[in-house]
Assembly symmetry: C2
Homo-oligomer: 499 residues x 2
Amino acid sequence: MNRSNSGISGRSKGSDFLQLDPAEAPAGGLADWLTDRLRTAISMGHLPVGARLPSTRTLAADLGISRGVVTESYQRLTEDGHLAGRGRAGTIVVAVPLANRTTGRSRLRTPPRPPGATDAAGRTADTSCRSVPDLDIFDNLRSAPARIDLTPGVPDLAAFPRTAWLRAERAVLTDLEAAEFGYGDPAGTPALRRAVAGWLAQYRGIAADPEDLIIVAGVAQAIAMVAQLLGRHGVDEIAVEDPGSLGSRQHLQGWGMRTPPIPVDERGLQVDVLRKSGASVVMATPAHHFPTGTVLDGERRRELVQWATDGGLVIEDDYDAEHRYDRPPVPALRAMLPDQVIYVGSVSKLLAPALRIGWMLAPPQYKDELIGRKRLADLGNAALPQLTLAQLMESGELERQLRFLRRRHRTRRDAMVTAIRNHLPTATIHGAAAGLHLTITFDEGDDTTLAAAALQQGVKCHPLSWHCQLPHAPGLVLGYAARTPTEITEAIATIAKVC
Amino acid sequence: MNRSNSGISGRSKGSDFLQLDPAEAPAGGLADWLTDRLRTAISMGHLPVGARLPSTRTLAADLGISRGVVTESYQRLTEDGHLAGRGRAGTIVVAVPLANRTTGRSRLRTPPRPPGATDAAGRTADTSCRSVPDLDIFDNLRSAPARIDLTPGVPDLAAFPRTAWLRAERAVLTDLEAAEFGYGDPAGTPALRRAVAGWLAQYRGIAADPEDLIIVAGVAQAIAMVAQLLGRHGVDEIAVEDPGSLGSRQHLQGWGMRTPPIPVDERGLQVDVLRKSGASVVMATPAHHFPTGTVLDGERRRELVQWATDGGLVIEDDYDAEHRYDRPPVPALRAMLPDQVIYVGSVSKLLAPALRIGWMLAPPQYKDELIGRKRLADLGNAALPQLTLAQLMESGELERQLRFLRRRHRTRRDAMVTAIRNHLPTATIHGAAAGLHLTITFDEGDDTTLAAAALQQGVKCHPLSWHCQLPHAPGLVLGYAARTPTEITEAIATIAKVC
């Protein structure tokens, strides 16, 4: 789609957008034809969930047809639940048609949007159709029904230690002083800060004073606070890995940061490109790259340390570093560079994202300002879950949980690798024996089409495209941690079928 | 203190600041003299916690003494724990000297501040010394030791229903599907949104669709989200009640809003002044004004409705509206004005601030954008406490808790009123028979001095000055909900003694 060319006179009737040609339409059937073509494009993944359609005015002008026809077509697809109007932000694909369904209301969630609303990032329809999925893409994907959910980024949620959690909370409630139900230290409860300091020393090689830790509502909030902090210090861009987490990128952009992409290869972040880019801050996952699973190799690590020592600032997202299956995880970069690294981590991959508990360890010069941002954000995390988690950490229960998960996840990873070798022999498997997901790539094809087709067959995963800003091989990001080996094998076989 | 005049030549030696006159100092004892004068000023409340001192350069020039003397004096008070350097933000009073202590380290918390740090609002030393307590003033006050804590704004924390909470959480954990431990809807769990909608219908006269509710991490986060939203829509000021909550004002300012004060009298917010101010948004507490306890009277309520109908937007902070002891609370303004009111509430005054759970109900045109802000803030509140609270609401447990608290708080309020009549017969008691605190005013005096003196005697409360931007009678804001009648009586007697 090249919207800047729209409306130029003298062009032949027809549009770059989906190569639509109204001459194909039967007489009197323009609206039916257009609706059908758009539905097919959504179904095939050419218009993935989150894609923005041209305005009715633009598309009508491109096609040389009346605007009423385009409006009618958009309206029908909206009623079917495939599109949603977002006021000034345009019209968005919110759901893929289910297999063998062409009429009636979709079972996918299509939240009504009032006229005039923009998305939270305030973006309007100037982003190109394919490049940036919408901010609520994960919410929409979560709402889509599927038989087997391979969405990456969650541990085995069925393994959440419910009994241990409840036992720990009872112990906390028995001993708690009444005053602790009041407003607390915005940086977190002393008990959890002590427990996290112990955890980081043991598992991540980081020697931290509990007083220097800030408890946050997950890595998402940490990113928000860091973006606010750096924005106030005049920073307006934070370089990110490419491929790299779409969620993190969306968050940084939502808080006003540009996110220039720095390529990642099989040895990790290309630090020479980072250096040439002139960026002063980079967000990275050195211990286990998201989504490819690469571990930053020794030489690159030294280069990154040198770049930081020369004045760069690294936001180290240590998102699943404890989940290494073949050998001890590499120490966190923060362990070597306390003054150049803002370290962020959470229990989202250890216990559950729904707990919304994470931590941040910042260079001394930023600490108080970050506590100030946390105070302004929400006055501090809720106390009870903090204290319960501290209890689980201190009692050794979290360590038991991690060991249990490592064994279970390793089995599931092996099952996925085997299934991929059997069913998708041409796919390349990336990454170390670690983490909660795998990335595979193909020599050719369109991964958004593939992911959409897999979803139609009941298997949910991420196209690699979502996590890329630069050109890249097509691929899929496949979470295995939350599924049984049987489910994993069935899901991979299903993907192979639609490939 | 008039810092703009500092350094004007030809002035006599001496300073407007605390009426310091170096001629009083004994020969060779300038630093001792200055240190002593400053310590006394802090102790007497002339320099309350949060006050900003002139720079050493400015004060030295004013006094016609060497800068080294001022630096030495500030340094000694910093070592004693009374002052803290905040880099560009200047030097701040962080703790009052304890009674009968003049040397050694203070037991009050004095967080170290690195050079170059500014506070979270990015304010530097351009605010006048008395007017704006520092952002961490509540943290500092909380850390100060006291025998009897009358800090307003908390319910009886000892009454937190620990057993019921644990029982509800066990029920939740028993039935919870594994997927609910994953990332969830940023607007909140459906169960809690339904339960809150029911609560608001029953207690606040508001008919809300659960889908329109957004669960937030307390009113503080709601204020942050609203400030971000309105800022993006070009709003840069939100009028506030005066007196009015210092915490809310700090939050609005921290998120970039100016907060023009609109006076409140015995009938509530002076809507004619609001109208003349030209402000387009006001934050108000119509059901029970903070801190004076006034209920907006019928005519003012009609005026405010008219102002909003003419295009104004009201942020209705319904912070403790359920706590009315003599008659049913007035319905929320939101019940009448769904398109002109952003309604915010929480369980901080019903159960505990430490839960960090609140809700927001916005006009339709803002809903999606606010959900977007919540997503960018932290991806949504933690799920388990939401579901536990929903269970407490649905089971009637929260209603039982409210009835219990109402009875208990009423007794405590009566005890406080009686004690004030006995020990402080000249004080005026303000407000309706409602809430968790009382405000009293005096004909004359300095309330920061009084509050500091009370703290020295082990009684913690807020000077009314903290909650005022406009000139006002001196007063104290006294929380009674968390204290027994005996403690309350003793505390009031202590305050009477230092008066």
